[in-house]
Amino acid sequence: MLSNWPILSILIWLPILGGAVVIAAGAQRASMARLLALVISALTFVISIQLFTTFDTSTAAMQFTELHPWIPAFDIQYSLGVDGFSVPLILLTTFFGVLVVIAGWEVIQDKVHQYMAAFLIMEGLMVGVFCAMDALLFYVFFEAMLIPMFLVIGMWGGPQRVYATIKFFLYTFLGSVFMLIGLIYLYIQSGTWSILEWHQFPLSLEVQKWLFIGFLAAFSVKIPMWPVHTWLPDAHVEAPTGGSVILAAIMLKIGGYGFIRFSLPITPDASAALDWLIIGLSLIAVVYIGFVALVQQDMKKLIAYSSISHMGFVTLGLFLAFAIFQNTEGGRGAALGVEGAMVQMISHGFVSGALFLCVGVLYDRLHSRMIADYGGVANSMPWFASFAVLFFMANSGLPGTSGFVGEFMVILAAFQANFWYAFLAATTLILGAAYSLWLVKRVIFGEVTNKEVAKLEDINAREALVLGIIAVAVLLVGLWPEPLVNLMHSSVEQLLAHIQQPKFTGAGF
């Protein structure tokens, strides 16, 4: 039915234009804005399901490609396509696109139409990031995405929102302009903006290193890696629940996706030469930030630090490959690392999104995010407590939940690379459990110390629906990860085959 339609363009432009319609039509009536936003985001999600079912998992080639000239004077094209890396992330984006609309249904009462439109436009732009096969198009989506997020944090955020949102914007903007220089340099050398052609374009090792650093500047801030993570706790704490959810569930993944799409295939030799740097920073993130998370007083901050620690697994899994190639024949473990990183991204999307929604549920009732203000929530909110416990368990990597699969795969791969990598990475199983479960103990269980807590009402149907859907997803990926892994398998194999080939033979200069 949809096979001949430009399905990727629809996924990008339906939410963006829909956002414009919501602004125009919903200015007078908030209920109209909510309904329209729900319809548009649901429709987008349904179309993305169609993308998933018709996607051919047996090939690593780009599918559903679209190609139109955009700026012919410089060979810039409106070029779209998806492979096994993009499809899961697109699904995650459209999935959360619906959930944030539902999550903000009653909570947002001020300028509803602008809130809904900002999220719809952001959704379209993020799908665009995952589809763009032209580097300038990628950059345009990558940067434009900051504008709605800047406004969301600044308009509906907490007391320190202005500081947090400007920090967020400038930090990520600074990172990405270095990438822009790298992209322009690549264009001047190669005469094309096509990312796939860049994958094949020979470059000398020194040039690759500079380009790698340019990409690193953009993606390490986005993902974020230690030590350029400091914008994230601020942004998370001050953002409204929906903003935190999108930030944690999807925007951070764009950094990981950037590593997969740009750093690894375009500068494979530099990645091999500098993998110690990434692995080192990743392990610091996993261990040190894990400890930092332990001492947080603010629930959102704790989840933010836990996100940084979990994203350390993603970068670790991606860059383990080179050490594994040296240690083993064929590098079977390398695929495990990259697939683990991808699964970890999807899983962390679900789990962190759900955790921020849980904190949002509490915050809407008591207007506090401080752990100390709670205690014994399970007594007054049993339904909520069961969901929250599930998500915190998933966050600490309990087998049977999605959190376990990704971490386990990455740790297995780490063993193939170096015992100590695996040892340090595995500390997360202790640290993650410690900060997650300690939070659960202090907030959910125990005596009711605060009179306000005793009066809390349990989650309503809307909140139960949102949390329930994510709970199903978390368990599904945890118990049956195979469809997800299959989806990306061909692309992972191709990526690994590609990065083993040195690129600087016959380099231009």
Binding site: A27, I71, A73, F74, M155, I166, L180
Partner: protein, 481 residues
């Protein structure tokens, strides 16, 4: 070739005629009929645009043609820049009418002076000899000096005009001095012949390089790049906002064209010499303009410093000395004029009766008062900051590409870092509009033509970004790239 060929200058002659007609018509019009002057000026622009666009048959299909014994050139770059001068000036007139009426300064002088300035701009764009450059420059400058002092009661305006006049005259003097040396070294005033003479005699000539230095100083002053930028903040601040609007848009295109004619057409052989000078001027402007803008609380001064940094970016386009580079600079200057017109249009919109909305705080809570105008201003700010998908991003991208092509990676890196610094003060305006509570609930009202022009201007900033290919192609093909 060396004939009068006056037909080529039809747009200039038309603007001259109409400026005189308006000058005389004003004598016979009652005060309440001044709207006619506005209409006449708009008609002038429309016909000037039509005549310019129908230029092909006058040049017999050739890309360019000369007139007035080689002193005047008609080429695609000139036509495009003139066309955009008309478009931007049309927008400026619509904004200015509303502004001048509010401040009870709606007099025909504004139109005659700005039309004479436009004539100077057109001459400058089409100048192919040192004499024409100087004539065009002085016509533009003298008209704008007078415009700055347009509000006779304003002390700040008079002071700014005086400062502008003294410094501007000095710069003209520098320019003339440089021209005389180049004339001495090459024996010609015609830019083509100058470049031929340099090719013949070689660039190793102290007088020539000396002349070049003085030319660059004069040019830098007119562009307003550091360290010849001192007049910009005071003039932007002191002049009535309608005049600032004019100064910040149309004459910039002429300054770009003048730089191209002098440096490339005339002294292209000295590229290695002026490339270094322009690189330094560019980096100083980008750094100082962006840093100083942060400290401003007055929006006119903030935009003045932002202009300085934008002019630095335009200079980046000159560095490689290739058609692509000049195309990038030309694209930037056109885009900048459009953005700047929209920004000052917003300042005019927010000015309540008789009081200019000079302070950044006047933008507080604009989103609550009127979300459409807030969206326009936000687009202008993001565009100036160089955030995609707005048109300003493509301009920045093109000039940074030009800087990289000329091998100056350090310059490109400095430029992008300071464009992030610059993003801070643009974001601050967005913050005031979207995150703060309004200080007044006064209704924002404007005549329908003003609202239409402002909306169109805002949509241009988004639309030219998404559909950027056509304007980029026009600019690139102007230089035969």
């Amino acid at each position: 070739m060396n004939t009068m060929n006056m037909l080529l200058a039809t747009p200039e002659l038309w603007v001259l005629t109409m400026a005189c007609v308006i000058l005389i018509a004003d004598l016979f019009l009652r005060e309440d009929r001044r709207g006619i002057i506005h209409m006449l000026a708009m008609v002038t622009l429309v016909f000037a645009a039509i005549i310019t666009m129908r230029a092909d048959y006058m040049t017999d299909g050739a890309r360019s043609a000369l007139a007035f014994g080689g002193a005047f050139i008609r080429d695609p770059m000139g036509d495009v820049l003139k066309l955009f001068s008309f478009i931007v000036l049309g927008i400026v007139y619509i904004y200015a009418k509303f502004c001048l009426r509010q401040f009870r300064m709606f007099r025909a002088d504004f139109y005659t002076l700005s039309l004479f300035a436009l004539l100077g701009v057109m001459l400058l764009i089409s100048a192919n000899s040192l004499v024409t450059v100087y004539l065009g420059l002085e016509l533009t400058s003298l008209s704008t000096y007078a415009l700055v002092a347009f509000d006779r009661e304003s002390r700040r305006g008079s002071e700014a005009a005086m400062k502008y006049f003294v410094l501007g005259s000095m710069a003209s003097g520098m320019l003339l001095y440089g021209m005389s040396m180049i004339y001495g070294a090459t024996g010609s005033l015609d830019l083509y012949e100058i470049s031929l003479a340099i090719t013949e005699r070689g660039t190793d000539d102290l007088i020539l390089v000396f002349g070049l230095v003085f030319l660059v100083v004069g040019l830098s002053f007119k562009l307003g790049v550091v360290p010849f930028h001192m007049w910009i903040p005071d003039v932007y601040h002191g002049a009535p906002v309608a005049v600032t609007l004019f100064i910040s848009s149309v004459p910039k295109m002429a300054a770009f064209a003048m730089a191209f004619r002098l440096l490339q057409t005339g002294l292209g052989e000295l590229h290695g010499d002026w490339q270094q000078m322009l690189a330094l001027l560019a980096v100083f402007s980008i750094v100082l303009g962006n840093l100083a803008a942060i400290a401003q609380s007055n929006i006119k001064r903030m935009l003045a410093y932002s202009t300085i940094s934008h002019m630095g970016f335009i200079l980046l386009g000159f560095l490689p000395g290739t058609p692509d580079g000049y195309g990038a600079g030309m694209y930037y200057v056109i885009v900048y004029s459009i953005m700047s017109a929209a920004a000052f249009g917003m300042v005019i919109l927010l000015s309540a009766r008789g009081v200019e909305a000079e302070n950044l705080d006047d933008f507080k809570g604009l989103n609550q008062r009127n979300s459409w105008y807030a969206a326009i201003m936000a687009m202008v700010m993001f565009s100036m900051a160089g955030v995609p998908v707005f048109v300003g991003f493509f301009a920045k991208w093109l000039v940074i590409k030009a800087a990289l092509e000329s091998g100056m990676v350090w310059l490109a890196i400095t430029a992008v870092i300071f464009s992030v610094v610059g993003a801070f003060y643009y974001l601050r305006v967005v913050k005031l509009m979207y995150f703060d509570e309004p200080m007044t609930e006064a209704k924002i009202d404007a005549p329908v033509d003003f609202r239409a022009a402002l909306s169109l201007n805002g949509i241009m900033i988004l639309g030219l970004g998404i559909f950027s290919s056509s304007l980029i192609a026009v600019c690139m093909s102007s230089f035969g790239a």
